[in-house]
Amino acid sequence: MSLQPIRNPKELGPIDYYTSGHRTCAGCGPAIGYRLATKAAGPKTVLLGPTGCMYVANGHQFLTSPYAVPWFHTQLGGGGAAGIGTAAAFRALTSKGKRKREEVNVLVYGGDGGFADIGYAGLSMAMTYDYQRLLYILYDNESYANTGIQASSTTPWGATTTFTPTGRVRRIGNERMKKNVALTIAAHPGVRYVATSALYPPMDFVNKVRKAFNSGGPAFIQVLTPCPKGWFFDPKHTVTLSRLAVETGAWALWEYEEGAFSLTYKPPKRRGLAEYMRLQGRFTHLSDEDIERLDRMIEEQWGLWLESDRQKRLILSWTPPPTPL
């Protein structure tokens, strides 16, 4: 049973599988992502959640659960293995006649801490297997957001976190460059489907989720989800920031389907990065020159994204790390 592409949001129907009963922050980007992805996956889905802000915020206070499909916690570093174990159980039980033949989507939905850091090896292991209808989504809010905003390896250069604060001696905050997890997952031979997405445009994310499940192998999507608490912005700006991330080119939307690369969104005229960064409190200490320099880096990167799109294959860039002025 393949999941048809969605052209009109109304085709998704009124039922939510991530619904009331959580206590995420106002304007929570990951919660919007959860809602879209589970709606796209539908009721025949098992959802697995590595520890992260979406674990802590989705339960806790009144023993309520926002999940209208089976859901199980996995340890912070266990996401990759949990998906494999769950998919293996379904395949073993159906092939041995212990369970009726019926396709089940296994959706492991972890944060950047879980998939870019501690659970990265397990995620990589999963990409070398051939389990079908197994999708790993990395919701990238660029920090450990449930423990008080600590840097992860997807925290962008220049962002302040409690582990990378600005100070009298260290002016920049986080001095590491954001790890591009999706590109590294695309480097696994035989991987069927890898994509990046954002909360804007929403149907881009929904259809990528459906494509991923149809792909015939383990698939991976990295979705950028702004976090009001960690990025320090007014909760009303969550979708605006998703849109600006895409339109400034700070976050490129692409997919990698059986070896073929394509951009799924090309900004007609790229907006300046300052518009995106000045809405966020985590970058306020950066100078205009810093932001201009980052803007130039993005410009160079976009040359490669567009060339990759033209050639339908990935070209890796080497980006020199920015040093503080």
Binding site: Y55, G78, L93, S124
Partner: protein, 395 residues
């Protein structure tokens, strides 16, 4: 009858149990069991998903999550590998998933050491896993089958380690008689009460909670399951004995204990050497017996008290150690002392530590009994802990 190593015998049990999902990651001496299973599956002897994991942590997470769906699972490790998986091992028990794992006991690093020690497995005494301890390949096979029966019982629903002493059981081939078709019906299919399967509707499992709502209650539920496993273990071994014709006492195996003044208490493979030593000493007129624990969790404290209350001295053959612990002994020694604290007549209990993986011999066990006997005659021990295989001064 076959000649099988311990790991082969356990692999045969996994095949008989028709396990669905197996997760492998290599570390000596447990690895052999996965080598055997991989070959069996490659040859079509039975069907299972066998995952080659990227670490022990992943290995135990795979088993945990496959079990949540309703698959029968098998996993295992040794030494520091087990400790690397400790996080996944914790949550498997607290989510009450009946995974069965081989613990092939091995000394912990550093330095790298292929010898046998119990610390890798005894560390997990506080984790909610049942821990059974085999003394040879035959018992390892039988214990694995019984482990699935006990762990999957609705009154228990807990994971279980089948511990076997590294090398001495895992790698030594000995005569094993596999159970035949009489075993059928002994292991009903595993049916979890709340499978993680959309067919059974939505459940939310192991969500984050406020300790004010469910904290100690959940711990108490797991504890009650461990305690309830006692009756299930007794039932299972009784049923196993009836079907297969091989009977085992459920918790304690004893030799020459009827009129014993001195007792050797141990677990695992070296029990046979201890019984040999006791036999020789009996011939010399010494009233020596041997007690072996078959389960470390649930701990047979009551049985030990009843059996050892009248004994005057106990020599503990201990392959565990806790650096700087009370009286400088291992978990094995200290738990036995704790169990006998309530005894009306407390025996002298001396610990003989075989730590660091160096193999002991019957000479050391004989010395242990002699030292214990002298302490009893004097009415007090010179010291409580000895390191019989240590070279140089025991300071």
């Amino acid at each position: 009858m076959r000649i099988w190593t311990g790991t082969r015998a356990i692999a045969e049990a996994v095949k008989i149990a028709d396990v669905d999902v197996i997760a492998a990651y290599p570390i000596r001496p447990y690895t052999g069991v996965m080598n055997e299973l991989a070959k069996m599956i490659s040859d079509g002897e039975f069907s299972a998903e066998i995952i080659v994991a990227d670490s022990e942590h992943s290995q135990f997470e795979i088993a945990k999550h496959a079990s949540a769906v309703g698959a029968r699972t098998f996993v295992g490790s040794s030494g520091v590998g087990l400790l690397y998986a400790a996080e996944a091992i914790t949550v498997t028990a607290l989510a009450q998933l009946p995974v069965v794992a081989l613990a092939g006991c091995r000394a912990l690093d550093d330095p790298g050491n292929f010898g046998m020690e119990w610390n890798d497995t005894l560390v997990f005494r506080d984790f909610g896993w049942l821990v059974s301890w085999a003394k040879d390949a035959q018992e390892a096979l039988d214990m694995t089958l019984v482990a699935y029966r006990v762990s999957e019982d609705r009154r228990v629903l807990l994971p279980q380690f089948v511990a076997v002493d590294g090398a001495t059981i895992t790698h030594i081939a000995s005569p094993v008689t596999p159970p035949d078709e009489r075993i059928e019906g002994f292991l009903p299919p595993y049916k979890p009460p709340y499978p993680l399967d959309p067919e059974y509707g939505p459940i939310t499992k192991s969500q984050h909670i406020a300790p004010s709502l469910i904290g100690p209650e959940q711990r108490k539920v797991v504890d009650a399951s461990v305690k309830r496993s006692r009756e299930v273990i007794e039932e299972a071994w009784r049923d196993f004995g009836k079907r297969v014709g091989r009977s085992y006492p459920p918790f304690l195996e004893t030799a020459y204990m009827d009129d014993a003044e001195l007792a050797i208490v141990t677990m695992g493979a070296y029990t046979k050497d201890a019984v040999y030593v006791a036999k020789k000493l009996r011939e010399e007129g010494e009233r020596v017996g041997v007690v072996r624990l078959r389960y470390w969790r649930p701990y047979p404290a009551q049985e030990l008290r009843e059996l050892l209350e009248g004994v005057r001295g106990i020599a503990v053959l201990d392959f565990s150690y806790s650096f700087g612990s009370p009286d400088m002994g291992g978990a094995f020694y200290n738990e036995l002392r704790a169990a006998l604290y309530e005894a009306n007549q407390k025996p002298l209990i001396l610990d003989f530590l075989f730590t660091g993986g160096r193999e002991p011999s019957v000479k050391h066990f004989r010395e242990a009994v002699e030292i214990t006997k002298r302490a009893v005659e004097r009415g007090r021990p010179e010291r409580l802990v000895y390191w019989p295989t240590l070279r140089g001064d025991d300071i």
